[in-house]
């Protein structure tokens, strides 16, 4: 029988980087849920620690990136990392119980083992933002991807000028990370919170996030053209209004960063589920500058 000389890439002897890329495709770090904090009725903050200490220390990510979290047999999904990058593989993920995986996750006990793959995607350029004023604008769950860059910024507070956080939620019971507001304010951060519907205990402003933003822009003399960066995270409908206001206040588009949400099944630019046009949100995003967003059809 004639033997054909095929190239068998996977069992090949050569140990090129390509081969390790291939074999690591499905690899996931084994991690343990060390703590779970209920933040609201539906959102919980999960502290997840990569078990192998070498892997934990070598796990590095940039603020804004995401990981794929896998519960064997249940499912896998993309989640923004909302802990500080200096904590490496000691991750915090804030997750709303909304689908199969997240509802199941809400019921598992501490100590459950999960799989973590990543980090994936682009990040907020926090170094580039140094020596500038920062406007961090979050609506609802948007505070979650914003928390990682916020940690980075707080750790280097002296390198930034005025920092404003404008955070809007539907009602006071849906506000996340309430226990940290005091700490943020101690870092000389101007935190403004607004809710859509007040309850009996609410004493802050009521309305839309754009109202607070308007005040901030007016205080800057309707001119953000110099030395300001903005990070905007929230539901799609919020992007239009907030980004339009920022652009009208002459903030350059390439200084506005948004984090987009899409369905994802791989995180590696293969499954196409997160595509906007043919732009993979998992590879070219989730963090985009606003110019790129305007360039993609149906991005927001």
């Amino acid at each position: 029988m004639n033997k054909l000389d095929f190239v068998d890439v996977l069992p090949a002897q050569q140990s090129s980087t390509r081969k390790s890329d291939l074999t690591s495709f499905e690899y996931s770090y084994k991690a343990e849920i060390t703590n779970v904090y209920g933040l609201t009725d539906t959102e919980k903050l999960y502290q997840i620690r990569i078990i192998n200490s070498d892997q934990r220390h070598q796990f590095t990510f940039k603020p804004g990136q995401f990981v794929m979290l896998e519960l064997p047999g249940i499912g896998e999904g993309p989640f923004s990392i909302s802990s500080s990058p200096t904590r490496h593989g000691d991750l915090e993920l804030c997750i709303r119980a909304v689908g199969n995986l997240t509802n199941f996750l809400g019921r598992v006990p501490r100590g459950t083992l999960v799989g973590i793959t990543g980090p994936f995607g682009t990040s907020f350029p926090v170094e580039e933002m140094e020596n500038s004023d920062l406007l961090l604008i979050a609506g609802g769950l948007g505070i979650v991807p914003l928390r990682a860059p916020l940690f980075s910024i707080l750790e280097n507070r002296s390198r930034y000028k005025q920092i404003d956080i404008i955070y809007g939620a539907r009602n006071p019971s849906e506000l996340l990370f309430t226990y940290q507001y005091q700490m943020w304010r101690q870092f000389d951060i101007n935190l403004k919170i607004i809710v859509d519907q007040a309850d009996a205990t609410w004493q802050g402003p009521v309305g839309l996030i754009t109202e607070i933003l308007k005040e901030r822009i007016e205080a800057a003399g309707n001119d953000l053209s110099r030395n300001t960066y903005a990070i905007v995270c929230g539901p799609p409908v919020m992007f239009h209004f907030v980004c339009d206001m920022l652009i009208n206040a002459q903030l350059p588009m390439q200084k506005i960063f948004v984090s987009l949400e899409r369905r994802m099944h791989c995180g590696r630019g293969k499954c196409c589920r997160c595509n906007i046009g043919a732009t993979y949100t998992c590879l070219s995003g989730p963090v985009f500058d606003y110019w790129s967003v305007l360039n993609m059809k149906e991005a927001i």
Partner: protein
């Protein structure tokens, strides 16, 4: 590239030399309503089954590279945790005997995404690197618009390529393996006459293409006409069934799902090929659907293939095989859609 010729009746020898391996080729599978033969790529067990004169297969050879369902990893579960097992599979070498230029070009396009520098897919790459491809020239069908897509000829991605010249086969040789195999046959150097005959045959084939698509400035036109009412009309016709993606040789989208076995001791993570026309393709948890209506999904399909991929790789993710148009239950074809968007004429 090296060129050789061998007598027509030696094709069976070539088959015999290769038949020791898993051999996939076109074979007849009955007749359709118009009494035309239907062909499919499948395992070939005898030379008589191999039909190199096939028109076009209903499905592409995607199932051999991107199976409809594929296990990515498996788990052993117990009370203390789980173990993940990843079987990248050592794929047995496969010989693909009788691929048309469009199908080989489709593999070359898939390679750009799936074997590229960014997270190469080991499941696809493993199979792809274990392929031995014998291409064969085709006779254009009324639905083929590969000439417009620049995929009517193929320059790489195969081991040898056969052209039927009547009494002999003209072979283009692309790999040393292919050359070694051809040494088993009484091959000869093509004569001047063979050269001329080959060029004549190519000219004759070129003249037979009837279906065309005007691709000029298509990327810009797709951007300009993004809000066009034409898309709405096509959306009304489209039934969002995903047939086009399942027959498409270049569609590679998938979804990942995990399954627990009934005894709760094992689980698997599987991927299933998907289609961007299916309703929940872009729906996120919580119910928000980024492309809720059929027109936006159909538009996205064209946008990805003819605009986005073009931007990323300077070529369209379409080889013009026309399978989607032939398979579509509503009769939506790529040339019709692109024409109507270009001319802004709502289809009837």
């Amino acid at each position: 590239m090296l060129f050789k010729v061998f007598p027509r009746n030696e094709l069976e020898t070539l088959y015999d030399v290769l038949a020791g391996h898993h051999l996939v080729g076109p074979q007849a599978r009955g007749k359709d309503q118009a009494d035309q033969e239907i062909f499919a790529f499948d395992y070939i067990h005898s030379f008589a089954e191999l039909r190199l004169d096939f028109t076009s297969t209903v499905h592409s050879l995607k199932r051999f590279l991107l199976p409809p369902r594929e296990i990515l990893s498996s788990f052993n579960l117990d009370n203390s945790g789980w173990e993940k097992h990843i079987d990248l599979g050592i794929y047995k070498p496969h010989v693909f005997f009788g691929l048309h230029p469009c199908d080989i070009n489709a593999l070359n396009k898939l390679d750009k995404v799936l074997t590229g520098p960014v997270y190469p897919d080991p499941f696809y790459t493993g199979k792809r690197k274990n392929m031995f491809i014998v291409g064969v020239n085709c006779s254009p069908q009324p639905w083929c618009f590969c000439k417009s897509m620049g995929t009517d000829t193929v320059l790489s991605g195969f081991d040898m390529f056969l052209t039927d010249m009547g009494d002999k086969y003209f072979v283009e040789i692309q790999s040393a393996t292919a050359y070694d195999i051809l040494m088993k046959l009484p091959i000869a150097q093509p004569t001047e006459g063979d050269h001329r005959r080959f060029v004549e045959l190519m000219d004759e084939r070129n003249s037979k293409f009837t279906c065309q698509v005007d691709n000029s400035d298509l990327t810009k036109i797709l951007d300009l006409e993004f809000q066009s009412p034409v898309w709405k009309e096509w959306g009304k016709k489209c039934m969002s069934c995903g047939t086009c993606a399942s027959v498409c040789p270049t569609c590679y989208c998938y979804g990942v799902k995990e399954y627990v076995d009934l005894d709760l001791t094992t689980a698997t993570k599987q991927r299933q090929l998907y289609s961007c026309n299916l309703i929940d393709f872009a729906m996120v948890s919580g119910g928000h659907n980024f492309r809720p209506d059929s027109s936006s999904r159909l538009k996205y399909r064209y946008y990805h293939k003819h605009r986005g991929f073009q931007e990323a790789y300077e070529e369209a993710l379409c080889v013009g095989c026309g399978r989607c148009g032939q398979a579509c239950l509503s009769g939506i074809t790529v040339p019709d859609v692109i024409d109507s968007v270009r001319r802004q004429e709502v289809p009837k």
